[in-house]
Symmetry: C2
């Protein structure tokens, strides 16, 4: 049975800050992911981009050439590989988000999301 | 305790077929919804649009003026108000979707989604 994030997390696609909204949209579609980890040149997590951010950009203007720092969320809510998955569920609900990058001191390890949790734990009813 | 879709469904924003990707993006943001029901002039459900469709449109080109029939999904997977919510959970998982419009013979009544189910049922652990 699944207890911690490390048991169920999956790979997360990453993209560098100098890319555009269109690059992000292409990567989300190509990897069939709902979230991207945005990384700085040094490789550190600098933000996240989800379909929501792409949608919000599309609501205002032709945003495809806009650089990612203009749409990404910089205050990233992350999980640790040792976190208990029930705590993750409550956090996702509390922040009204669907996914969190999983990080440790070495960097980004993967993603944990309500989709993954639904598929692998709570929906095995 | 919750048993059927009717117990937990919520309103779904609707948009007419003659609108554009940008209109859809604006409505999704304004209503803080992940899905729109697209309706014909007669008021019948003709498709759905989600952030995924907007993201996919943004991956190819400046799609903001594109009319909705070009990006919407026409084969809509729907739920009935009398459906059992566990069956809904399995259907969402089976089709890899997050939400379904709820319909009866009179038309679109609302939406049921994994978010709603998480908030109101399975995550009350
Ligand atoms: C409030 S959520 C609601 C919609 C959707 N379910 C989602 O998670 O994208 C949308 C916003 O939350 C941000 N977001 C998503 N996951 C995040 C995370 N792990 N940390 C910080 N912000 C996050 C996105 O960048 C987006 O701006
Ligand atoms: C395969 S899902 C995966 C991403 C996301 N969780 C979602 O539901 O949009 C994305 C596609 O499914 C379609 N879709 C979403 N809900 C649907 C529904 N109730 N019936 C038919 N298609 C649906 C969307 O229009 C989009 O093209």
């Amino acid at each position: 049975s699944y207890r911690t994030v490390a048991d169920v997390m999956e790979p997360i696609p990453t993209i560098t800050e100098n890319r555009t909204v269109r690059d992000a949209a292409q990567l989300l579609v190509e990897k069939n992911s709902e979230i991207l980890a945005v990384v700085s040149e040094a490789g550190d997590l600098s933000g996240v981009v989800t379909e929501w951010d792409i949608t919000r950009a599309s609501a205002t203007a032709c945003a495809e050439d806009m650089p990612l720092p203009e749409i990404m969320t910089r205050e990233v809510i992350t999980a640790k590989p040792t976190d208990n998955i029930l705590d993750v569920v409550r956090q996702l609900e509390h922040y009204e988000i669907s996914a969190m990058p999983v990080v440790d001191r070495e960097g980004v390890l993967g993603v944990i999301s309500s989709d993954i949790l639904a598929r692998r734990t709570l929906y095995r009813l």
